[in-house]
Subunit: 249 residues, 2 copies
């Protein structure tokens, strides 16, 4: 059985973190059974050390940083963090399940993910300040506030908040960015690689899902995104909601 | 026979433009015979209208913009501009030649190309001001100076020029960016998609080649790039130089 490490939040059973959803979608797409362990941010490092997962990046002070998503697979006694490395591991270890990173596309999928993250900065500016109050328990909220402020180089996340007309303008920027990805794809394709989902679709869907998690399914924000570009993102999210969104406890 | 439209330059037979090289490499990789027509910038629009190629983008004033690379294929009477569209056309029309955009990777290859272009801004800042004096005949130099200044929002390309220690620092930035792409790839892979070149390798090689065209094969600039990241880019460029660099007149 695979143990999957997710971030705990205010609403039990509704995972909220973009990076962790990439792996949850990956596991669900493959149909692999797993159980979820819910962590608060300050407990990630000790837990990862305990299971033997390596750090995935470095902190601002240069010391190793441990992150989720992570899995521990007791059938192989392997612990891995980082959604791309997990996807690779799952493809290799469970070759009879649907493929996440088709042969030859490792670097392309990596690059697509980085590109999407870097381009969507206008979305992060809109959403990040809402995460602590809407999604997090106090211990994680404090951690998130401190670390994300450092990441964005701001004294507090609240100073990033955009309101009123400026907020509308910021959403227009987000729409334009989604439009640029829409243009990169064929109109007839549902998925980035055409007829089947692959890891990059899970990255994209995780980002869109975060809007629903923060503002609600019926919110103007989420409904707008669902309608953009001929409803392309709406169609994807309907499939994700129906097929790949289970949250085993 | 395919007619391939390239940009003329100061040195006959040494094409200099990054975008056009992507298609020249594509044609050479496929082993398709073609002849080259050399254009000056101000003659692109009238030539493209004559052969029936569509505009690929818009000018700063919103009017249609015609660009090279472009091809006219007299076996099908088709004219196309834009390196990705040309690659797609060649794959479809000549299915027995090596594939440029493997099935399912159209959006990924598109995104990779855009990501590379956007990330490599520090390289364009270094190289663009050198293009008119080193590569172009007077009519194209005047056109390039005017249009690229508008693209970069500067009064003249000369104000972009970086010298001395700032130039060294700028090259370090370029090295870091290549390093980030190095990290996205497997160490054992020569090509972005693993064991075979594909369109994105031609994009990457075109960008690296521009450094050789501007500063010379033996220049410190080019030799440095050849040595970066365990010689990865050097190995790629050796293969390109040997196999895919012919320039039919």
């Amino acid at each position: 059985m695979i143990t999957f490490y997710d971030l705990d939040g205010k609403v039990k059973g509704i995972p909220w973190n973009i990076n962790v959803w990439k792996t949850r979608y990956s596991l669900n797409y493959k149909g692999l059974p797993y159980k979820t362990v819910w962590l608060e941010y300050p407990d990630i490092e000790s837990t990862m050390k305990k299971i033997g997962a390596l750090p995935t990046t470095v902190k601002h002070d240069g010391s190793p940083m441990y992150t989720v998503p992570a899995i521990y697979d007791d059938s192989t006694e392997v612990a891995i963090a980082d959604s791309v490395l997990i996807a690779e591991y799952l493809d290799k270890t469970y070759p009879d399940t649907p493929v996440l990173i088709p042969r030859g596309t490792y670097a392309l999928q990596n690059a697509f993910q980085e590109f999407l993250f870097s381009k969507l900065m206008p979305l992060w500016i809109l959403t990040i300040p809402d995460v602590p109050s809407k999604c997090l328990n106090p211990r994680s909220a404090e951690y998130f506030e401190k670390h994300r402020s450092l990441d964005f180089g701001v004294p507090s996340l609240e100073v990033m908040r955009v309101t009123g007309e400026a907020r509308e303008a910021q959403w227009l920027k987000v729409q334009e960015i989604f439009g640029s990805f829409h243009k990169m794809m064929k109109d007839s394709d549902t998925w980035i690689m055409g007829d089947k989902p692959s890891f990059v679709d899970f990255v994209l869907a995780s980002m869109i899902l975060s809007i629903k998690t923060l503002y609600g399914k019926e919110s103007k924000e989420y409904q707008n995104v669902m309608s953009w570009h001929g409803g392309r993102w709406g169609r994807i999210m309907t499939i994700f909601d129906e097929k790949y969104s289970t949250v085993p406890m």
